[in-house]
Symmetry: D4
Subunit: 250 residues, 8 copies
């Protein structure tokens, strides 16, 4: 845990504000709050720079709405990913002003937009079927406070389209490349820029695509240096890492 | 079987040159010759346009040399693939003049070079570790009588190298693309040319490359049209198909 | 890009018809046109010999119809693959005269049929459940301008059916073999003809078929030379490559 | 266990030849003999029609020789599979007259050859690299007392070779088909005969062959009825089942 | 093809009943009949001992009914596997008297039951969820003319249930073992009987069962000799091979 | 079988209360009862300490209700796992008082609760999506008579939550760890306690999670000692083993 | 960490024996000792009941010997697994009296044997090739202080051998079942005893055994309750868990 | 390519310093130099921030030495990864002063050390068998000019070791986590820091580890946000991305 907090507790104890038992208990319970069916990680934002986000898959609209309401009551900004329109309707009824991003399958409520970062994230996609993961990445990054530039549908089957946008990609602080099928775009971009590239393999495709495994393996085996990979269709995860990189630049 | 040969046999039979039993037997044994441990397919070249070729893996140098000698005695030109230097030494002792191609792991004996084809095959490789399969393809194609242009080490990590050679690739009758790792080169070339592209995934790489599976899946899922694939490291197979395509052009 | 186009731009520039900035911009934007949610590859047909084709899976009928309409406005002939009847209805309302091929799950609009090629593609299938991929291949090839001969339901469980049609297969310029289950037909035909054979593994089957992986591996490991493979159920891709081969023959 | 033996024990007990304790013990220990590091299954031949056979892989020559000697002392005929020449040398020193079959990697000692069966097993192989498994099957079957006909190197790349031998295959009681690569031969033969066909997939091949998985899946997905499969390279297992089928025919 | 038929044609030809062209044509078309969308294998029963059977999956009720009607018109007995009740209703309307076996998902029409075989097939299953494949095997075998004994729900979790039925299993001519989950039953029975054992791995189970792969691998790796395997859930295939074995016994 | 029962039968026989045939029959049928479509294992509880439990997946509500009723009639307590609400409704109609646990997808009927064990099982879960398997484990364990402590939602993304509950986990007799995604929780707990840890990998997750395979492999490769694993989502199986361990402690 | 230790530190601090900085430092460094290339976990035995054990694979004999010597100097008993004879020689030179168990590939040094446990672990193996993992389990368990009974070579191919030893297995506190090939033994024993069963899948086997995956899947899918599994060949891990279970029994 | 270079060429051309042909050629050949067997990417450092690095696997010591010498002649600093001591000896003979890092299997020659970065990379490893990949990452990062802190052997089996070093990890600009087996360390650290975490799965482990696949899947499925992954054992790739992140911080 936080040494500063440990020292604060030691001081309270030495000043008699805490008896021995309470000091031992508090020392072992630093940074968490129990809550019936869940153990809320109140410390997450301080620790990881990313607040709690609601992953909607496998939850009923009611469940998502309840969690969102509870977070809203504490003033926490809300992002729910993999959210259907039904989920959105349930949340919006309780928290008016919530916005739904259909393509990203995400809903967002923020009292005020965060001040945009100086550097930006380039979100580059290979084709139109990569849009859901691309938009999940873009919306997440903007929610977290990073500036985003979208460069879509520039896959390697017509590679000159990519070269035309090269400058915008090169000037980003970090590049997220979203691609299904053979995922070649990550390697091509990795060979063109001097910025970290995060690959998001997409499940788009068929046959021996195996639900995104083909693109995943391609990106893991990229012949270009400086490319790392997140889980299949995990635009959210890529945006989290990209945001942490952008934050660094100050 | 060949209808022409059937008719010839029927004529011989109707003219009494063959009795009924012999005719039935000959009709059922057309185009093959039995030979102790093997059943030689004497008809293969006529049927498939590709003569018998010796695959050396799993055979002793002695065995390869014996087969080569027997074929040589019948005047058949000799190509042995996956041949070590030991295999070459054994063959060369019996058939002086045999040539060894170290990088391709192939040995060749031809009384006279075939007349080179008008069109040519472009063999394009991504990196230096793709050389063995590339050279197996190139040597096989030349053995069969196709003209070959080699364009090596032009992988997508430095894609401008590829564009510089684009014209040579575009003017080929068919393109063989040899690539390991993520195999992106096949898609990039498939998007640049109007010729059939045959991908040869290579086992070069490590970790989640899985002995070439990564490149194999990439090529099968290519976002570019007109790309087909052969088995991992199978430069020989790619050259056979490419040669049949080149032959068409007349 | 095209050297001819580069030279034309250089001339315009040296003649003062283009200032330096415009020349640099035009040189870097050759052959592409940006369009809101998509970056159209106007150069694809010139480059690859295959025009843009609409892959309908994962698109709404409305989206397919819009894309088709826009292409139609530019006079581009239209092929949409993996198209349901709903997709067809949406397109036909906007482009009367569009034809639907139910078995192939494809829709086509062409002002005039292309002049059929001299050589032809033989599309050979093993069983009736291989019909969708077979017809996708056949319709695509005809759309591109290749002549097609269909030889269906001649799998190896009753191999004499195949031999009866052998001549029609042998006289093709290229053979597409469509087979599910164990995919043995590709090897058998590969051993009978001197033409390139392109295998299309089918997902038809059950149990340890693994959605077409069994047939895919069979075809990749074919003991016959001159066989290459495309993705599972990818009749479209096979037809593209076959068409590029047929075009060669002139 | 054997009801007859149970009744014999009950009689002995009721006649006072066995006290209660001994009867209970003997009833629970029927058909087995403990032996230090191993528990010999003395009952196996009676139960399954196949005697104990020594699988040599992972055993030292000394260990195989000891087991063989012990069996020999009891008059049990000896078959050791996957036996190297070193294993043979160790055994032959103790049991002169033992015969080594190099291609089958098997050694055999039998006081007298069993009377050959009336029906026979056809062992059919696709290529020369399938010889080890084919010979393991053939030698095992002959050791067990079945008559064997070998039909080797008749793979589908030159399928007329197979048709020429069709009659010999059709007249067998059961057919063992040994094939690597794409294993298509099992389906082709399954479509030609009215006898049970047992497929032995071979690890021969490379790349996406995956050590025999390609042939295994092919045979499991055979479009021909009446085909079953044993483990990769398991010529021994195929021979055991084939022998049990041949025995039936009397 | 059949030598007898070849000889008959040669005689007709030599007697002038056939001219040369017709003789050549008839020789190459032996044993097949073309039929629009399908190439009927009229020769299959003579060749393989198993008549054509309709696999209903992926066919509409109408298609199955049409095929069944056409076969019925030629007097061929009808078995359709993987048939839903809708399929049955469509067939029964055209061929009254057709019987539906719900558990086996099979429908049968036979003018007269075949004379039951002397030997019988034991169909042994591990649990109640293995019933569909077990019944598919049993109904198929009876349709083909083999006598069947069913021994169900005797899996190894309560192995004494199996031993109680051991005699009935041992006296069979061949044993079909149907089991999902870990498929251990095949090995246990293989160690108890001297008859061929055919394993049918079932997709019943969950998690790391992988749709039957667990049972499939178990049976392929059986430590008992004389066990072979068919595809997952393929009760039909197991019955075909078992029937061919039973037929042998005369 | 049970030696005691054998001896009882021998005594009855020697006293003439049983004739020889009956004794032999009874000796071979010990501990089982045949019942039409199923062979009931009446001996299971005595043998394994776990009574018969109904696995509802793949059974109709009617079938589950019938089995439950029959067991109820014999006074056997009832647990049905993987039970939908429809299944519950069907059972409750016949056995009023049956309780449904929605999250666990389980229904239970017990005349009287078993006396709770002295030691207890700690069921620890990583996140809320692991609840179904966690509750299946907890309800099963309580049904069998083990005391349970639930510690939910303490995954490693916020690891201090776990440490706060460490004492409760350490004092358990055995720990069940339920986790999806990367399943790291099992290793972390395995490194903290001196009790057996049983891992239940969950199918919760997406992409390269492969339906729980990721967590399964993690747990099998745990760097902590004393961790074993059950099948994916198999809370029931984990509870059975944990209960057998708790029972030991007396 | 240990609350007791925290309290001790708090007391020392409140009594002025520790200043604030030292207290904070000591509180955060409880239970660990840094050591150049390694961070020794001095707390492991107290926490997990299993001391540090040396896994020799991938270490040079010298490295193992050094670690062993250092542990010996602290009076820690030594167990090194996966140790070759070369490793043993290096260790024995420094720590005379070390014992080598060849079959288990393990070396052990203990000043005094631990007092044997009351309950015992039954280590049951299917065949002789399962001996290495079986002995690794047995030696490890004895090293930790558990009594062990070995029941070897009682696989299901001759299942009566198992029944003869059933009583010894049933009376154990926990059963370790070691089996390769199809791993059926775990299920059979799981159905016979009321004790926890831990399966150790072995890599023994060939072909579709896939290095132990076949047995691993079998055991994970066991139809018997109360069976859990450890990694392939991981006799050590099974013994750790079994020992923790035996310890419970007091 | 670089617009600046295009403009320079246009100016030269407009000033008559270049004729039209030369201008067109130079425009298409920007940034590359052909060199017999390889096409050197002279532009890579400018483009990607990472210079050419020699991957030694699959190259002879002679080949590596030649490439190194040629690079040295151009003043390029040298890093060769996966280099054996033989490779080192060959290089050092030609370029005295080259340093070999045995654990990292890397050799380095730099005229002057780069100025170390302000921020630093934390390289954290789970166990001693993860050292090779950890050191490859550390040496690579230092070669590129990043400051590195090594925190080794702090895996989750003794997680308090990790917490003790938490501050050093938290203050890094980016964290590389190297772990084999179940790879849980990446998730645990991802949950503790607000910096990007790059996971390097290691092939260390055995059995169901599958050469690092277990750790790879774990890291891809990490429940902590902000974690991305590189290929198995790819310490080099992780260092490249980490270095690009560190460079950002200025």
């Amino acid at each position: 845990m936080d040494k500063a907090e440990i020292i604060k507790l030691l001081e309270a104890y030495s000043q008699g504000k805490l008896n021995q038992d309470d000091a031992a208990e508090k020392l072992s319970a630093l940074g968490m709050e129990e809550l019936g069916f869940a153990t809320i990680d109140t410390d997450r934002y301080r620790r990881t720079g990313i607040p709690e986000v609601i992953y909607s898959e496998g939850k009923t609209p009611q469940q998502v709405a309840e969690i969102a309401e509870r977070m809203h009551a504490r003033g926490i900004p809300i992002l729910a990913t993999r959210a259907s329109r039904e989920v959105y309707d349930a949340v919006e009824k309780r928290i008016p002003g919530t916005i739904y991003y259909e393509m990203a399958r995400a809903l967002v409520y923020q009292n005020e937009k965060p001040v945009p970062s100086e550097g930006y994230i380039a979100v580059v996609s290979a084709g139109t079927s990569d849009m859901p993961a691309s938009e999940e990445a873009a919306i997440t990054a903007e929610f977290l406070g990073s500036r985003v530039e979208r460069i879509y549908d520039v896959g390697v089957a017509g590679i000159h389209r990519l070269f035309h946008r090269a400058e915008l990609i090169r000037n980003a602080s970090v590049v997220i490349v979203v691609a299904g099928m053979e995922g070649a775009l990550a390697s091509v971009i990795g060979g063109l820029v001097d910025k970290p590239v995060i690959g998001v393999p997409c499940s788009a495709g068929y046959g021996a695509n195996f639900g995104g495994v083909s693109a995943l393996l391609s990106m893991l085996n990229s012949c270009a240096n400086g490319v790392s990979v997140v889980n299949i269709d995990n635009g959210f995860g890529a945006a989290c890492q990209a945001h942490l990189i952008v934050k660094t630049k100050k």
